[in-house]
Subunit: 260 residues, 2 copies
């Protein structure tokens, strides 16, 4: 089942994607809903960020190859996380599929994509076991954790580096019933493949993160958890188009423009 949030004609809300149609629903996937008789052609709707989370969780480092390669670039020793320490991102930075990543005027050359699997929660999770953790996930979407590396090295909190406006593309929609251990992430820059990795190859998997976070922090329906990236992200600049594809979900595509 594919959930989207969309705008069409005068309507904004959640919908179910079936083939090339979007069926509008009353309500939300996080509570009661019912399908309506209103349908739209998928190509006629504007896809929105599939959910605006109450809490926007994000795993900073979760793939060994990424940690090793980034450390080599910096000339430092790789440091692997000893436990699932969750981090955060900010809602101001969210944009939808097909919207533009705006490179700030004073950003440097090392503005980079990071393709990530995103868990979208459907039920309140408090102190859940690792075995039960995935039952709280409604479905899966794709995130691009756009990062400005020079700011990342200097900002004490990564605020600009990771959370400048438009730095968090998320979409195109939420797909239910997938197994996060069996997906593949493929990243293309201007149509050319630049990264490909097994999405499930995490140091701590999604279930481990959910279980650990839920011991201290109650996860609410609509919250999201971005699961980190692998590989060696490349620079992006105005004019570029980044596509993050995750098997079973689809493609999150965003172009880069310069701030005017």
């Amino acid at each position: 089942m594919i959930w989207c949030r969309f705008r069409a004609d005068d309507e904004t809300g959640f919908g179910i994607v079936e083939g090339d149609r979007v069926i509008a629903v009353d309500g939300t996937p996080f509570g009661d809903y019912r399908q309506t008789a209103r349908t739209f052609r998928l190509e006629d709707v504007k896809l929105l960020v599939p959910v605006i989370p109450g809490t926007f969780y994000c795993v900073g480092v979760n793939y060994a190859d990424h940690i090793t390669k980034m450390a080599a670039l910096r000339g430092t020793k790789p440091v692997f996380p000893a436990r699932p320490d969750i981090g955060y991102r900010a809602n101001n930075a969210l944009i939808a599929h097909d919207e533009a990543i705006v490179k700030p005027k004073d950003a440097g050359d090392e503005l980079q994509y990071e393709g990530e699997l995103v868990a979208v929660f459907g039920k309140r999770a408090h102190n859940v076991t690792r075995e039960a953790a995935l039952d709280y996930v409604l479905g899966w979407t794709i995130g691009n954790d756009v990062s400005e590396r020079n700011w990342q090295a200097g900002d004490r909190t990564l605020w600009r580096a990771k959370n400048a406006d438009t730095f968090k593309p998320m979409g195109p929609w939420i797909v239910t019933g997938l197994d996060p251990r069996r997906m593949q992430t493929t990243i293309r820059l201007n149509g050319k493949e630049t990264d490909r990795f097994a999405t499930g190859n995490m140091i701590f998997d999604t279930a481990a993160y959910i279980s650990e976070v839920s011991k201290y922090c109650t996860i609410e329906p609509g919250d999201v958890m971005w699961m980190g990236t692998d590989g060696l992200p490349q620079n992006i600049q105005p004019g570029d188009v980044v596509e993050i594809e995750i098997s079973g979900i689809g493609v999150l595509r965003n172009r880069v423009v310069a701030e005017v």
Copy 2:
């Protein structure tokens, strides 16, 4: 003017506090609203967290005396921020005035309060000058940035240390028309004053933070910015009552209980 969010009888929403009465409004202070004929006695309503922010900004370190004293405790040299690097907190941790701070079972003795001035935004702010910055603030409330110091030393992202459930009391309400440079914060633990400082004695003031953040991150109505604490916070334990008073706003009071 005093804005609250409250629950009374079957009603949940925003209200205006006048003396010992709450006047229910239709709408929100962040958009259109109108006063209704429904009023309640203040003592009969349950005050809620005055706003659930879209983005929850928080300044980590912003008072010289606090930085100096905390560094001395750790046996390190004080490090003062070179620029206004904003941080974040998480909505799961929010509780209202008079709700209980729950000390997790595995938290250590150094669970501490931090009394903070909070700016609540009423208008969208993008690239605003320092001179105009306070025009975007609807009003002011009080935050208690409860922190577990052992976790703070070890959590890479401060997630449990600062964002465990109930660690972010905010309230009791939002007061408009105040000058953030002329307030005094007084902290009482079980009725005994433990800290008192000039709220305006910040390294970078609220206007400076708003202006800097808004260069990169669009601040939305309903977002909040916690402005940091001064002094040397004390340990709190189950049975304690913490009161943060800021002149012109009121008192945020929360008791501490043990996780069961």
